[in-house]
Symmetry: C2
Subunit: 117 residues, 2 copies
DNA sequence: TATAATACATCGTTATACAATGTATTATAT
DNA sequence: ATATAATACATTGTATAACGATGTATTATA
């Protein structure tokens, strides 16, 4: 019975789940840039960072294509870093173009959100 | 020369234009509900309302499918209103389900946006 | 010795904004 | 008078991007 309550508590209806996904399309690039501005990350690490810092749950099928896209657009740069053991890590950094775009995005979203009430 | 400056001033790069579109996918249902909460509208009117109240430019190919979707989900109801002249207008109203979902969405986005800085 | 966690990546599906197009009526400008 | 714009509805095809599923490889844990 406890489980059912717990399930219902966190369950969203079809509409809200879908809305969350669509909203993410807009907010995700912003949060990725913000996270990388604070601290360079590799992809797998970024997934955890987005969860802990922004409560945003993202899968690998989302994050890797996004990082590749942001690279292509020139907002990020990367550097492979060999590990003493295990798979090498691909670290991402925000570029100057990335910073400029981030500021523009932030300004944009702040203006927009003033209109919600 | 003046025109060029003016053009550049308002021009966004490919990435930002695209981002705006994606962000809209998330914010649009929220703004539509908010607009209809304030005042019932017909589709064509809503397009103008979104522009003037939220600075959000939306085409008919966006708004009509969206309204149909929100109807299907039970967030809106509609009523045809004959005009003394011209095409009848399809007025949309927010339902109780719509109000509940709107509040949930608002709460969600406010929490999320606190994390941008 | 199997399973989970770490770390990279790709592919097919799905949702949704948008341009283009269509129909019909009324107002306005030439 | 007549073309054009504005009003008002709607649909269709295309593009973008999140997500689930799947794949490879390494290391840690049960």
């Amino acid at each position: 019975m406890y489980y059912i309550f717990n399930y219902l508590r966190f369950m969203k209806n079809e509409f809200l789940r879908n809305w969350d996904t669509q909203l993410k399309k807009g907010l995700l690039p912003l949060f990725v840039l913000q996270a990388l501005k604070k601290k360079e990350c590799y992809g797998y690490e970024l997934i955890q960072e987005l969860k802990s810092s922004f409560g945003m749950e993202v899968t690998e099928g989302t994050i890797y294509p996004l990082l590749i896209r942001l690279m292509k657009e020139g907002l990020l740069v990367h550097k492979w870093v060999e590990q003493s053991s295990g798979i090498p890590r691909k670290y991402y950094f925000i570029s100057e173009t990335g910073e400029i775009n981030f500021n523009e995005m932030k300004k944009n979203i702040e203006e927009t959100l003033l209109k919600v009430n």
